[in-house]
């Protein structure tokens, strides 16, 4: 950094906060920023938050990731995204220490997940009793589906038979018998001899 502001704005303080915390700022500028922090509650709170995040991140255990894996993750993340900074630029107005902390936490998470996912994940063999129990449950569930399917099929068949065959037949017979009965009632009884 060759040019330093004379009157530090909040944005400029945030821009150089990480360097301040890392002890990388020249003493003059560090003193100026500290003076700003003494007078600005927002920047002071921001600095305290950044220090807390740094402290918590440093307390995390280090992952012993193989060098090729680390390189592969970096290749797929940092290098692949390098030409496309639109989202980073869009959110670039955020305080840098927070982004740095998020980046570090995300990197640790990614490495952890990657390392874990590369472990052999052979399923643990359940004991014979558990398999027997599971087999009985599978039998029950599948049989239940079979029974319900069959029962429902039979009920639908019976209903169709009743609605489409039995009921129309009954109605037809009733009508026919009714007509016969009417015809009989119209026959004159005078000429009929009782047997």
């Amino acid at each position: 950094m060759s040019q330093w502001p004379e009157n530090w704005s909040c944005e400029e303080v945030w821009e150089h906060l990480e360097e301040l915390l890392e002890g990388e700022l020249p003493e003059t500028q560090a003193t100026q920023i500290r003076s700003h922090l003494d007078q600005c509650a927002a920047c002071e709170a921001q600095t305290r938050l950044a220090m807390e995040i740094r402290g918590e991140l440093r307390a995390l255990p280090e992952l012993d990731a193989p060098a090729p894996l680390l390189q592969a993750v970096l290749d797929q993340t940092v290098k692949a995204q390098e030409p496309r900074l639109s989202l980073g630029e869009l959110l670039g107005s955020w305080p840098r220490p927070i982004w740095a902390a998020l980046a570090a936490a995300s990197l640790i998470l990614v490495l952890g997940l990657t390392v874990l996912s590369q472990r052999p994940t052979a399923p643990e063999q359940p004991d014979a009793a558990a398999i027997a129990q599971a087999t009985a449950e599978a039998r029950f569930a599948l049989a239940r589906v079979g029974v319900l399917t069959r029962e429902a099929g039979l009920t639908i068949r019976d209903k169709a038979l009743r609605d489409q065959v039995a009921v129309p037949t009954q109605k037809g017979l009733s009508q026919f018998l009714g007509q016969v009965s009417d015809a009989e009632s119209r026959i004159p009884h005078e000429g009929v001899k009782d047997v």
């Binding site: 980046a103 995300s106 998470l109 449950e137 039998r139 029950f140 049989a143 079979g146 319900l148 039979l154």
Partner: protein, 185 residues
């Protein structure tokens, strides 16, 4: 510096798919969340079956010699989930309404109706999910008297084997029902 700023965005993009696979199996087209339907009151549930992933393979292996039909069926499935309930003392009408809501959800999610049967105090709804001409999921919602059962089978299912399962699998719990249906023949 710009590299450092781009890193979070890149890592978030990298992490999203990892977080998205938190519930294995639930993204299968044949999956239907019978646990989240709020049809059966929690206290009435007396049967829960959750068979997924590796256990399905173990069942298929265990029954390979003695029951190849069951073995083959289980081998093609990814999960079997059942919720059963005794509805004695429970508002059955509320359960019926819940089942109606569930059938609407099924249709909205692209499931097809195989059986819709309502007779007296009995209701059975069977829906299936098809993908590329293959049945990949089956959901059964049934109410019989005071008993309710929700079943979701996920995976490849041969519909021609469904009915034969009722007789092929010898289960004491099913004797009464199978005898009744046999009499109907």
């Amino acid at each position: 510096m710009s590299r450092l700023r781009a890193l979070p965005a890149a890592l978030v993009a990298f992490l999203l798919p990892v977080i998205g696979v938190a519930q294995p199996g639930s993204d299968h087209p044949g999956y239907f969340p019978i646990e989240d339907l709020e049809i059966l009151p929690e206290e009435s549930i007396n049967l829960e079956i959750n068979l997924t992933g590796p256990m399905m393979k173990f069942i298929a292996l265990a029954t390979d010699e003695n029951d190849p039909e069951l073995s083959k069926m289980v081998e093609d499935l990814e999960s079997i989930r059942v919720r059963g309930a005794d509805l004695e003392g429970v508002d059955v009408e509320e359960a019926r309404s819940g089942i109606q809501r569930a059938t609407t959800k099924l249709v909205d999610a692209g499931w097809s109706s195989m059986v819709r049967m309502r007779e007296d105090d009995e209701e059975v709804y069977i829906y299936f999910k098809e993908e590329a001409g293959q049945m990949v999921g089956l959901t059964v919602l049934s109410l019989e008297g005071d008993e309710a059962m929700l079943i979701n089978l996920v995976g490849k299912i041969d519909p021609t084997k469904l009915s034969s399962l009722a007789y092929g699998l010898d289960l004491p719990q099913l004797d009464r029902t199978t005898e009744n249906t046999a009499e109907d023949d």
